[in-house]
Symmetry: C2
Subunit: 165 residues, 2 copies
């Protein structure tokens, strides 16, 4: 069970956008450069966040990305679902209906106990990520970073932020 790198990148990029001055955004190129990752792949994650309504996209010469809603209303689950989709991690292929003692579809109205357990575990995973917003992440970064690092980030954001049309 693996979570794609894109989730890590998108979560970091979205958390960084918490620090943007109002009315401004960051180009995909700047987001990629800030995180030291390839631009094309970062742009792909931003398009997925945009499609999910997590970031707002302004196109054109002064294009860029900013959060589409308040950072405390965006959770890590929102980011993960935007990148990975919301298909369950455990796929039940109903193998209990196979073979010499296969159950009939009529006997399978209840979800298979194995699938039910995995889906409940996934719900616990999801519930935790839903309890963590971008504000929580940004607060964690603020608490853990020395003042000169935060000053550097602030200056970088000020230099790179583009006014979104």
């Amino acid at each position: 069970m693996q979570i794609s790198k894109g989730v890590e990148w998108a979560a970091h990029a979205a958390a960084l956008m918490c620090g943007l001055p109002p009315g401004t955004g960051l180009r995909a190129e700047a987001l990629a450069r800030y995180h030291g990752v390839p631009k094309a792949y970062m742009a792909k994650q931003m398009q997925a966040l945009s499609k999910a309504g997590i970031v707002h996209t302004a196109r054109g010469k002064n294009g860029g990305y900013r959060l589409a809603r308040s950072a405390d209303a965006i959770t890590l689950w929102d980011v993960m679902r935007a990148i990975e989709g919301d298909r369950p991690a455990f796929t039940c292929t109903e193998i209990r209906q196979n073979g010499p003692c296969g159950a009939t579809p009529d006997q399978c109205r209840q979800k298979c106990a194995i699938a039910a357990a995995f889906h409940a575990a996934e719900a616990a995973f999801r519930d935790h990520l839903q309890s963590v917003s971008l504000v929580d992440i940004a607060a964690g970064v603020l608490a853990d970073s020395p003042p000169d690092h935060l000053r550097d980030v602030g200056r970088w954001l000020e230099a790179e932020a583009v006014a979104l049309g």
Copy 2:
């Protein structure tokens, strides 16, 4: 984030073994036939369960698999870990250390807030699966199945079980 089909197959096979008469086992071929899946792939899952100490393997003409310990001491997490390994689903590549404002390794003694949140969510997932044993699964199947289906399964197990040397 996807869980491999092998986890579903291994969990069903391990749950079926709860019904084996003492001192007996099932061949990989029988396990595959019961579940209507390819033998080679079922055998691969059984080898992984064997390596993890979940099933006992008897080799040779009268070879087969049985649970290596009490079914209430085998959880769905044990099965999943045996098949998928225990590498975290979320891999932190420390991208906070990249780019123009990259944090120094010294500033990164605390786990990244994003990685910490994902790992806590994975712990919630794991905790749930650790709370579900093969006995719980077998009890669920017993409760949901009509008597004639359970009789069929019992007869099949009796016919296919091999005495393990």
